[in-house]
């Protein structure tokens, strides 16, 4: 009985942590982008206010049940991914279900949310939404290739597909994956650019082109749920990267430092880049990132 209570408490604590960290990172990103563009920018906690404001709004219209379900799909997917990733190495509250899933499972649960979202966006009938979705899916095919190559290299090198095991091996040997297989890490880093969708890969939302794409028909509480889900999802993905390549984290402070540095890479890269066309953003991942992934895999096999 006590176990179950710990589990539930841990799960709730994890979700709250992920939400707070994710939202704060979003606010900090806005600040960073503003400073680079020589603006003052909003306060770093502005995103909290945005979510709270949106949560207090009432929605007047709907386009059908699928639209209503879409935010739940994306929330479910974000929380599920979070539950199956070990947040801290040896954490009492943060391990959740991480023993019950592995990398292949994570790879397949990750598109669950975006696909559910895509269904909702499709039902609204807004052509911009559908175009955004097709771009997002196409881009996913692009960046998944180097990502999978890098993950396979990892699995081969450590002879395990479990995230927990990979962290344990790195902690025991003291050598982080980023040093033992830098090529796989680089391939995964490139894939991350596509995953986080900052410029030049912001083709899905595409401000001033698609009018925020799939999200364009969602407002009020729906948008609040979507914002918080994407914050949780961002945090989950960052933690996954830290686990795989930076040897996990012993405590929250270490985790925050590692994730923040990692998160700033795509943000800073995006600051100086204009937007790609869709096919450019797909084929981008099939050039150097793909080559790096192949090298990383050969490195791992040898």
């Amino acid at each position: 009985m006590e176990d179950i209570i710990y589990k539930i408490l841990g799960a709730i604590l994890t979700i709250i942590t992920a939400f707070v960290v994710g939202i704060t990172y979003g606010g900090l990103t806005r600040k960073v982008i503003a400073r680079v563009q020589n603006r003052v920018g909003p306060k770093f906690y502005q995103n909290f206010f945005d979510v709270l404001k949106l949560l207090s709004k009432r929605t007047a219209i709907n386009h059908g049940v699928m639209q209503h379900f879409a935010p739940m799909f994306i929330f479910t997917s974000a929380v599920t991914v979070l539950m199956f990733i070990p947040i801290l190495h040896d954490g009492l509250f943060f391990s959740n279900f991480s023993f019950h899933g592995d990398l292949i499972f994570l790879l397949y649960i990750m598109p669950f949310g975006p696909l559910g979202m895509a269904l909702g966006a499709g039902q609204t009938g807004n052509p911009n939404s559908a175009i955004g979705v097709t771009r997002g899916l196409s881009q996913m095919v692009g960046f998944e290739i180097p990502f999978v190559l890098s993950l396979v290299a990892l699995m081969v090198q450590f002879e395990t597909t479990s995230v927990t095991e990979i962290v344990n091996i790195q902690v025991e040997s003291g050598v982080w994956m980023i040093f033992s297989n830098p090529f796989a890490f680089l391939a995964a880093l490139f894939a991350m650019f596509g995953m986080f969708r900052y410029a030049p890969f912001d083709i899905v939302g595409a401000p001033a082109e698609l009018a925020s794409g799939p999200a364009s028909e969602f407002g009020g509480k729906y948008l609040a749920i979507m914002m918080s889900s994407s914050s949780i999802f961002t945090f989950a993905k960052l933690v996954l990267y830290v686990n795989l390549f930076f040897g996990g984290a012993e405590n929250l402070v270490e985790l925050l430092i590692k994730t923040f540095i990692l998160y700033m890479v795509p943000v800073v890269y995006g600051l100086v880049s204009p937007r790609y066309r869709t096919e450019q953003s797909i084929t981008y991942f099939w050039k150097w990132p793909l080559a790096l992934g192949v090298i990383g895999m050969i490195w791992a096999i040898i």
Partner: protein, 627 residues
């Protein structure tokens, strides 16, 4: 009387009765077909016995019929899907002509597939195989003149497969002096594989045609898309699995088990071939089939053709899994084989429902059916999730086993290829959902209604099955483990709802389903109470378009060139097509035959002229020829 005879008698008898009874009433024919398959199913599973073998002699050949655990696994597909497909067809075929012809071939198909699974000797195997091919051919051409060419293509490739198989059987008889499959396996286990590779390659060609293995797949897209959908669900779900059944015998019982690693020179063309080499070729062919099938699927505008290409891609995974031959990969492949029958059967049925209710499945013509056909949409959605391999539905289990089987056995580049294909599959999965059910609601589809209940029941049953197998795959692992012990994998480990690989990593599917459903339901309750109530429904024209109000007649539909950017990105892969190569061969053959026709004019006078010319030549050269 023996179980096997009774089952075949029920099915073939049912075929004749439903053909004859069509004259009385259009409904009776379908009902008879349904009763026949249902009673055959019930009778078969009440009397099923894997140790029961029947032997008899006919025309000097020894026949043996029986059932092993492998064929038992495939009977679930054939009889289960067959029963549901006949039930579905009653309403689906209601307003069509030639129902007697349709149901006759339908039941003949099911009966012959059962016959293939019963056969323990090559002769009856081949006979039933041919009955299956012919009955399916007759249904492919059911839709009239425009299917004529499609039928010919199907027949040519089936012919190639059948002759390859027949040749192999003759060669096997010359070696073994027996037609029994078990004798052949025994024989190979004693003398080894060397010197018998040609037989095995020919068998792989024969089975590869039916399971749409590249480069023998070109008949499949059109044949699947142009048959009546009630039959296509069986065609793609069960009939193609007969190829998989054959391949699993050849690739696993023969190639994997008795692969001694020897490299025997056969001389000439077959220099340096060994079992490993054949398996690697088949693995890569399967993976390339998967990739190309997916890429062509996402180009299609017709949902039926899209699904047909997707079937080819899925069969590619299965064949790759079989050819890899490790325990995990084979388990994944067999799991996917059953799952593919379930979800692709459901998908083709759903498309049939759309075709019947809305008149077409062309995604550029219809869209926005979700509010009109909600149940069909749910079935399509669940089957698509299973097809895409997203947890918590069944497809994920098969994909997971397949990937882990490949990674743990060292097929790293193959796994990337398969992964590319299955990620690109998300694209066409979304295409079919969006194209038919979502998007702008058009005026043309305003009168569309939900399909009749007798069509919905089989679809919903199949959709529920994908969900059950997603959480409790152990229900299916049990027969699969038995089947694998028959082909030589002893002590296959399985658990009810946990899947694990040889490195000891596992996924607990009950935890996965628990998390997903809990979070989803909590979020749904919160949002529905807080947000959904009190909202009103607005049409798909009432959307945010930067302050402008779209008018009723404004076209906001987005269906053409759906994945154009992606198609541009992978354009080099579209350049070569097996179909084009075959068509070029066909055209040059055509030209050759046209030339031959100028000699063989069909005119008696010309032939008389040839005789005279020949005689004259003989007379002139008689000295030099006869000396």
């Amino acid at each position: 009387m023996n179980t096997y005879f009774v089952v075949l008698l029920i099915l073939f008898g049912g075929a004749i009765i439903s053909f004859a009874i069509n004259k009385v009433s259009y409904l009776l024919s379908g009902i008879v077909a349904f009763i026949a398959t249902a009673s055959a199913t019930v009778f078969f599973y009440l009397n099923v016995d894997t140790d029961n073998f029947v032997q008899f002699s006919l025309a000097g050949f020894d026949f043996q019929w029986g059932l092993n655990s492998l064929s038992l696994l495939f009977t679930y597909i054939v009889l289960g899907l067959g029963t549901l497909a006949t039930l579905y067809s009653i309403q689906y075929m209601r307003f069509k002509n030639n129902l007697g012809y349709f149901y006759f071939n339908f039941l003949l198909g099911i009966g012959s597939m059962m016959g293939i699974l019963f056969s323990q000797d090559f002769i009856s195997f081949f006979i039933f195989w041919e009955i299956m091919t012919w009955s399916s051919y007759l249904i492919v051409v059911y839709n009239g003149n425009k299917t004529h060419k499609i039928g010919i293509k199907y027949m040519i490739f089936s012919g190639i497969g059948a002759y390859a198989m027949l040749m192999s059987i003759v060669m096997i008889y010359a070696d073994v002096k027996s037609f029994l499959i078990a004798d052949y396996i025994d024989y190979i286990s004693q003398v080894g594989l060397s010197g018998h590779y040609l037989q095995i390659i020919l068998l792989i060609v024969g089975f590869g045609v039916k399971s749409a293995l590249m480069p023998l797949h070109v008949w499949a897209p059109k044949a699947y898309a142009n048959s009546p959908m009630g039959y296509t669900s069986l065609f793609s779900g069960a009939l193609s699995k007969m190829g998989v059944y054959g391949l699993s015998i050849v690739l696993l019982s023969l190639l994997t088990n008795f692969n001694t690693g020897e490299n025997v020179s056969l001389g000439g063309l077959f220099e340096g071939i060994n079992a490993e080499f054949i398996r690697i070729i088949v693995q890569w062919l399967g993976a390339i089939t998967a990739v190309m099938g997916t890429l062509y699927a996402l180009k299609q505008n017709d949902a039926k053709k899209l699904l047909a290409y997707s079937s080819i891609a899925q069969l590619g995974y299965i064949i790759t899994g079989l050819a890899i031959g490790t325990e995990l990969a084979v388990m994944g492949a067999l799991f996917l084989a059953v799952l593919h029958a379930i979800f692709k059967g459901a998908l083709f049925m759903a498309m049939g429902a759309v075709e019947r209710q809305a008149g077409t499945t062309d995604m550029t013509k219809i869209s926005g059916l979700v509010r009109k056909m909600p149940f069909t949409f749910i079935v399509t959605l669940m089957s698509i999730i299973a097809l895409a391999g997203i947890p918590p539905l069944g497809g994920f289990v098969g994909k997971w086993l397949l990937y882990e089987g490949m990674i743990t056995s060292g097929h790293y580049f193959l796994v990337v290829l398969i992964f590319f294909s299955s990620t690109a599959a998300f694209l066409y999965c979304y295409r079919i959902l969006f194209g038919i059910f979502l998007g702008q609601e058009e005026k043309e589809t305003i009168n569309v209604r939900e399909a009749p209940i007798s069509m919905l029941i089989p679809m919903l049953l199949l959709a529920i099955l994908t969900m059950v197998f997603g959480t409790y795959p152990g229900l299916l692992f049990e027969p699969i483990a038995n089947a694998m012990s028959y082909i030589g994998y002893n002590d296959v480990v399985w658990e009810m709802s946990t899947i694990s690989n040889v490195w000891g990593d596992k996924v607990s599917l009950d935890y996965v389903s628990l998390t997903i459903f809990t979070v989803f339901i909590v979020a749904m309750i919160f949002l529905t109470i807080k947000n959904y109530k009190g909202t009103r429904y607005v049409t798909t024209k009432d959307i945010s378009t930067s302050g402008e109000m779209p008018t009723e007649n404004e076209n906001l539909t987005f269906q053409l060139n759906f994945f154009q950017p992606f198609e541009r990105a992978v354009a080099p892969l579209y350049k070569r097509s097996m179909d084009k190569i075959y068509n070029t061969i066909g055209e040059s053959l055509d030209a050759l035959f046209n030339f031959v026709r100028t000699i063989y004019t069909g005119n008696g006078q010309t032939y008389a002229l040839y005789v005279i010319v020949f005689l004259v030549i003989m007379l002139i050269f008689k000295d030099s020829i006869f000396n």
